[in-house]
């Protein structure tokens, strides 16, 4: 059964990898799904500890703006740009995290919100540095010493994003099964017991928060390069809420849930925009509500339950 599931994952990743061949015009959309998925993964990492962040757009925006500046200053290699942008976001998460990991529950949510809104208003107001509400152009960068055409770059970015997503998913999975990951999960309802074991809950959270910031930043950098532009909206609270929704849609249970959530969210926005014109948020709201109300474990819970039932049937 385990082997079947692993094979299935391989098939999913492989299938995703050939999609741009089948439908080249989808490359952009598929890249965005991966970028959003990374941000959703970042949020669902914090959800493991029972913490909802209504401010992760801060790190997403940090990644995208870092990519914009890097592209501007050096015209760096796209891989280096992605790595450095992700690192910048992680560094920001480290600084913010020193403060934020002291808080739980709605205070965690609100402090994240406050930080991201400060960042949002600064991005908006420091016109000479950040371009204000106009934002910045994120210029495409060359590869291995020679410049690539736009379609080449889009394809390259897609495969880089896919590789980043698979790596990140694998890494988070390993992390969650390590003692540090276990402690993170335990913070949700048994924080004191974690402390009894001689583990500092704050340190556990800080590590997770930095990792989470880096992931969101990576997603932001990928999206920034894919779109070719970044604006303060990417740090606004509704962007953060969107990530939370993706994480919850997917279900916090496993890393793939975040990507499934991101894919569903993006598909919903595309299809609803077609059939419901201006009322796609209504549909999204109803879906979120139904999931929170009736299926709190999300898509992943549904999928996992299916497998469990099949496994039980085998026995």
């Amino acid at each position: 059964m385990r082997a079947v599931r692993s094979l299935l994952w391989l098939a999913v990743v492989g299938g995703y990898a050939v999609l741009p061949w089948l439908a080249p015009s989808l490359t952009y959309q598929l890249t965005i799904v991966l970028a959003l998925g990374l941000a959703a993964l970042a949020v669902s990492l914090m959800l493991q500890a029972g913490l909802i962040s209504f401010g992760h757009a801060l790190f997403y925006a940090a990644g995208a703006y870092a990519a914009a500046y890097l592209g501007r200053l050096t015209g760096a290699h796209v891989v280096i740009t992605l790595l450095l942008s992700s690192l910048s976001a992680a560094l920001l998460a480290l600084i913010a995290g020193l403060l934020i990991v002291r808080y739980r529950g709605i205070f965690f949510a609100m402090l994240n919100l406050a930080l991201s809104m400060v960042a949002y208003t600064l991005l908006l107001k420091l016109y000479n540095v950040t371009g204000g509400s106009d934002g910045l152009v994120v210029s495409a960068t060359g590869v291995a010493g020679y410049a690539m055409g736009p379609t080449g770059l889009a394809d390259l970015l897609f495969y880089l994003a896919l590789a980043a997503a698979v790596l990140a998913a694998w890494f988070v999975r390993v992390y969650l099964r390590s003692p540090a990951g276990w402690a993170l999960g335990a913070i949700q309802d048994r924080e004191i017991r974690v402390e009894y074991l001689g583990v500092s809950a704050r340190r556990v959270l800080l590590v997770a928060y930095v990792l989470s910031g880096g992931l969101a930043g990576l997603g932001g950098a990928i999206a920034g390069i894919a779109v070719g532009h970044v604006a303060p909206d990417s740090a606004y609270w509704t962007t953060s809420a969107g990530f939370v929704v993706m994480a919850v849609l997917g279900g916090g249970g496993d890393v793939f849930g975040a990507f499934a959530g991101a894919a569903l969210y993006e598909m919903l926005s595309v299809f609803a925009a077609q059939y419901l014109s201006s009322s796609w948020e209504l549909l999204l709201g109803v879906i979120i509500f139904v999931i929170v109300r009736f299926a709190p474990s999300g898509l992943w819970g549904f999928y996992d339950g299916l497998w469990r039932r099949m496994a039980a049937g085998e026995r």
Binding site: I52, A109, M110, L113, A114, M117, T121, T238, A241, P296
Partner: protein, 307 residues
């Protein structure tokens, strides 16, 4: 008047009028949190619904050829209509189930997400009802004339807003501490379980408090409508501002919300006068600072909750 004192006075007056609207919305949010312990993300939508309804009321009054002064009672009626129509439906229909979730973290998270879902639904409901076009009912701003203070004209309407906010604050205090229902609300806010054991119908108190909170938000929106362009999106802006106010005051604080709204209003306005580039950062930076040093807000003791 010296070169600084004149603008300072002006900034303060503007700040207080801005703070007045902010207070109305935030105090509703605070009331809802204090009694139901729900951080209502959809609160900004109530503000927006109040503003849209008031703008429609103005159009209706103009279309019917009624005297323009009718707009002032119409603003208040709009707020009542919105609060009474939306509050109980949202609380009973969409939020009540969350109160049964036992684990605190899971309950808070479910409530954040559920109210966010409601926010999304109400945002699009606005677009479906009122379309994408903005509404301007600025005439109500002019009807009452202006008062010159230190040579600078202020609309009497905005000075009136200050009065309304003060009246709401006093009324809330009297209602909460001086009436049977108010004492029930205080009791439920502090201890819903013991309250129900004393015979207080807690579920009904929840509905009442939520509806009053929604009315206050809608009142903020209705009263602000003549001074702004009523637009989709004003709700998402207002909710974070009122979060900032209640976070600064301490969740569930009522008098505290008034002080925090004043701080943000005057701070914002002084920034407009002296450091315009920073004006919109002020509310969130203040919220951040307060949360860092006093996580439960300026006026709340660590665990005790009151309203």
């Amino acid at each position: 008047m010296t070169a600084i004192a004149g603008p300072l006075l002006s900034a303060t007056i503007n700040g207080v009028t801005y703070g007045a609207t902010l207070f109305l919305v935030a105090v509703g949010l605070s009331l809802i949190f204090g009694v139901l312990r729900v951080l209502n993300v959809a609160h900004g939508s109530f503000y927006a619904l109040g503003a849209f309804t008031a703008a429609s009321a103005w159009l209706l009054i103009s279309a019917l050829g009624w005297p323009p002064l009718c707009i002032y009672p119409a603003l208040v009626i709009s707020a009542l209509v919105v609060g009474v129509a939306v509050g109980p439906v949202v609380e009973r229909g969409l939020l009540r189930w969350t109160f049964g979730i036992e684990a605190e973290a899971a309950r808070e998270n479910a409530q954040l997400l559920a109210t966010y879902a409601i926010f999304l639904m109400l945002e699009d409901a606005q677009k479906l009802i009122w379309g994408g076009q903005p509404y301007y009912s600025g005439s109500a701003l002019r009807l009452l004339g202006i008062t010159r203070i230190n040579g600078i004209p202020y609309t009497n309407y905005q000075l009136l807003l200050i009065l309304v906010a003060v009246l709401v604050l006093i009324a809330l205090r009297i209602l909460l501490r001086g009436t049977k229902m108010g004492k029930f609300v205080l009791a439920v806010a502090e201890d819903p379980e013991v309250s129900s054991a004393m015979g207080i119908p807690v579920a009904r108190i929840y509905t009442v408090a939520f509806t009053v909170g929604a009315i206050l938000a809608a009142l903020g929106g209705a009263l602000a409508s003549p001074t702004i362009g009523v637009n989709t999106g004003i709700g998402s802006e207002m909710i974070v501002l009122s979060f900032a106010v209640v976070a600064i005051a301490g969740l569930g604080q009522i008098e505290g919300a008034a002080v925090a709204a004043l701080v943000i209003g005057v701070g914002h306005s002084i920034a407009v006068f002296f450091f315009p580039a920073l004006s919109s950062v002020i509310p969130y930076a203040t919220m951040l600072l307060v949360l860092v040093f006093k996580p439960y807000g300026l006026f709340a003791a660590a665990q005790v909750r009151r309203i």
